[in-house]
Symmetry: C2
Subunit: 203 residues, 2 copies
């Protein structure tokens, strides 16, 4: 979770941006800790602000709504997903790029991570968070579909693009129950790969 992946970007952040990011993290951390301790609905905004030692106004400058405190990394995940398709190596197909991304990011925290499973239970057990996550997922598939359309030259509203986006985000979910999740993901994407090749040869 606390991964400031600095593979090729040593983060040229000035002191200002660093402090901003720090308070943001302080808020999100305090919020998640309290939520996990006592449940989402039992923790108020003012309380979180106190725990992070900021005012409620500041809190809402960083997170537009309460639910966003839980899905802190939403924006990062989405841009990382889109980048995986846009900046894929020359000659690599879109489904292949999505498979790589899924194996690298989605499955990492899947096995045996207490913190992560607690997080999932928190979301699953809170209607407000379930709804928010669902809406988030739809936004991601939409954005992904648009990028796929751009990259493949197909019309933006082509059902094939939305379907591929849909399946690509669904596959890691479905693989969770399997004994070997990684294998299941690879299989699923092989299926998409062959189907996609027939439609958009070369991309």
């Amino acid at each position: 979770m606390t991964d400031t992946g600095n593979g090729a970007a040593p983060a040229p952040m000035g002191r200002r941006e660093r402090k901003k990011a720090a308070t943001r993290r302080a808020i999100a951390d305090a919020a998640l800790r309290l939520f996990l301790e006592r449940g989402y609905d039992a923790v108020g905004i003012r309380e979180i602000a106190d725990a992070a030692d900021v005012s409620t106004t500041t809190l809402f400058k960083h997170f537009p709504v309460k639910e966003a405190l839980v899905f802190d990394e939403d924006a990062d995940q989405e841009s990382s997903l889109l980048a995986a398709v846009r900046d894929r190596p020359e000659g690599r197909s879109v489904p292949a790029a999505l498979r790589d991304h899924a194996l690298r990011h989605r499955m990492a925290a899947a096995d045996g991570d207490d913190r992560f499973t607690a997080f999932r239970e928190l979301v699953a057990g809170t209607p407000a968070l379930r709804d928010y996550a669902q809406a988030m997922w739809l936004r991601h598939t939409d954005a992904l579909a648009r990028v796929i359309a751009e990259e493949s030259g197909l019309p933006g509203n082509d059902p094939a693009c939305t379907a591929l986006a849909h399946f690509a985000l669904e596959a890691p979910r479905a693989a969770h129950g399997h004994d070997d999740p990684r294998e299941a993901v690879v299989r699923a994407f092989d299926l998409l790969e062959s189907g996609w090749r027939a439609l958009a040869p070369g991309d």
Copy 2:
């Protein structure tokens, strides 16, 4: 007031239920009128309650959240949809029943109805309503998929059921842009019909 005292009346609804339905309608009508006049966000709950001459407490007894005021007929539409599949004539296929229902209910208000287009613009132009409608649509497809599974004897989580439910609710949407929407709907359902027949012959 108006005493319709009738000795052996079949009385589908008692006086009480009728009054309850009346206040419900009064609230929903007042709300929709105000929303269309001045926009969803510009009208407060207390104002609507005033216009309908009830207290806010009473308002929330009828509608759990503000958005529900707009989608008043949500529950009715869903049960009507499910009933169209469950109570379809003997020997009629599921897709055919869905097509009939779509042509009868979904397209009726589609052409040239000022009131209806204004309603759609209201929803489309209000993020909160868009989100709510989206979530509603997901609930409907889920419920429909379960009924289809029951009726066809397929396992409840069979992708074919969810897919059929998805497409059946999507078809009327997609047909809106066409010059002849009814024809487009018929075509779409013909497609579903043939595909379905291969999977569940007899249902």
